[in-house]
Symmetry: C2
Subunit: 351 residues, 2 copies
């Protein structure tokens, strides 16, 4: 779960609820890693209270502050027992420099591999990709040197994650990185929004990673597979050519196949009004078919008369879709009215 | 010429120079339209001074403030005589509401059609597209109702232009519009940057419109031809699904074919160092070929010896690209050195 920062803690709390549920609810054993933050115990207290309110069974703090402490066996054991890991916001470079490549870092990766849910917000989101935005300035247009890349935990391979994406105007820096490294998928997550990545096995055995958006904002994806760029020669602070990047802006409940890099088609939602209208039209059609059958059986009309009668019925039944052009009307020979039925008479009245 | 606002007026003045040159330099008759601005005469004075400094022959103000005034024959005559038209910044809705569909508006379109250069900055840029961003808020993520569309002059068809693009974080609003109207091309222009659109006829007679970027920032293009979107049902202020938009960020001197919606391949620029290195390698190869010819003529080497000798030469001449793997070296039989030549000795020394 890649959370773009500032997840709602007061009202619907959709993201925090989803995390606790995925970690096992009352059975959850959640390890909170506040290393990115300068506020260690205070921030653990906040998340402890939040997760317990959502019914989490157990919450423990795993807070290495140095690489030495990130070798602590007790911390590793806490991660080994965890069904959920939550990395707080703060400075992602502090977090990655402290845990990556240590037993604590390895235990986070191992927890993810064995199926525990690993979540992180803001800095805790950034560190999840193979390549991590270390820091950098705002701006829509990608410019040379506007950001720096460091190595992340790599829970999500071949990718680079950015957060507070809408709120801090980070199109430019994520585009700069993907232009320089077009084998990476760029993923920008807005505040109070999560990108939930799940491994799916289809009925035919094919596997794929699917990203699902949840929350108030959107998840933005840059696919630079077919980029044309001059990133290798753009001068200091100059804008970078990035032509042919495929962009996906995904609000909930959109799902995106990370393996094929395409949107997962959603099931068609049927509008209630549309459904009611269709049902009514179906009833009309059945009534009309009944009338025609009767007319033909009685052999009381010529083909021309029948065509005209059908057209007139169609106009009355579905006034917004005339099936003959209006100019034909004046030349039409008046005919004796068909056997009236109450529905037809009603429909015909307010034209 | 679509200028993203805040064009440089002090230093290089690349955009203003390009405009005056395109309008004819000393032969230029430039009509300045300051209607978008609340500062009429003052802003005309500024551009009058700027254009004259770049050598423009004549500068006149065309300043309708009402639709009534936009029927003034004197203003129309000034536009008919112009070789260049320049629309200032300000409020594009004031400009469009005053001139579009009036004789002054028609005269701007006619000037463009007869080949006069029509330029505009900020509001004067927005009005050039068929569909105009009327106003709207900032933000990267497209959200329902974050902006409004009005009709523009349509100098550039099937498009919507936005300006101050990087500086005012306008990704979201331009994406919202293109998601709702995927037949439009979205064009965002940064400050001190121009998108110069030219009509080109190729040698084989095919025609195309080519957009060229000029200035300090970039021109950003959204091509939503293959978008998947829920813009027709996204709720008030919700983010909008926009999957599959093709993105092009174009700094100068990039050129973009608006007809095929693809980047125009640039001519390969040769790096001076690369060229010098290649010339040197070519000289080495010729020398080597001479040696080999002599060796073969003398029939003094076996094929194995010859291969090894070639490999050793290759290593010396281009040390960064060994043509044999290093592990072969230890097993090599020492050989008598080839006839030394000063270049080889020099190259060999600092390995």
């Amino acid at each position: 779960m890649i959370i773009g920062g500032a997840e709602d803690k007061l009202r619907g709390r959709a993201i925090l609820k989803a995390f606790v549920a995925a970690a096992g609810g009352p059975e959850a054993r959640i390890a909170v890693i506040p290393t990115a933050s300068s506020l260690g115990p205070e921030i653990v207290e906040v998340y402890d209270a939040l997760f317990r309110r959502e019914g989490a069974g157990e919450v423990v703090a795993v807070r290495p502050e140095t690489r030495e402490q990130a070798h602590d066996e007790a911390l590793v054991a806490a991660l080994e027992a965890a069904t959920g890991v939550f990395m707080t916001g703060g400075n992602q470079l502090k977090l990655s420099a402290t845990v990556c490549g240590t037993p604590v870092g390895d235990a986070i990766v191992a927890a993810h591999e064995r199926g525990a849910v690993v979540a992180g917000t803001s800095a805790g989101a950034s560190i999840q990709s193979s390549h991590m935005v270390a820091f950098g300035g705002p701006g829509s247009t990608p410019k040379q040197r506007m950001t720096q890349v460091a190595a992340g935990l790599g829970l999500l391979g071949d990718s680079v994650i950015d957060q507070h994406f809408d709120q801090r105007n980070r199109y430019g820096r994520l585009l700069m990185i993907t232009a320089q490294s077009p084998q990476l998928l760029g993923i920008g997550v807005d505040e109070d929004t999560a990108a939930i990545v799940e491994h799916e096995v289809a009925e035919d055995g094919t596997e794929r990673q699917v990203l699902r958006a949840l929350g108030r904002g959107a998840v933005t994806i840059f696919d630079p597979s077919r980029i044309v760029t001059d990133a290798y020669e753009a001068k200091r602070n100059s804008p970078i050519l990035a032509s042919g990047v495929v962009l996906h802006v995904l609000p909930q409940p959109a799902r995106f196949d990370l393996t094929s890099r395409t949107l997962v088609p959603r099931e068609t939602r049927v509008d209630a009004e549309d459904a009611a209208e269709l049902a009514e039209a179906g009833a009309d059609l059945r009534r009309m078919a009944r009338d025609i059958t009767r007319d033909i059986a009685a052999d009381d009309v010529s083909p021309t008369q029948l065509r005209r009668r059908l057209a007139r019925k169609a106009r009355r039944g579905r006034p917004e879709t005339p099936t003959v052009s209006p100019s034909e009307n004046p030349t039409e020979t008046p005919e004796t009215p068909e056997t009236p039925d109450s529905q037809d008479a009603q429909d015909g009245a307010p034209r």
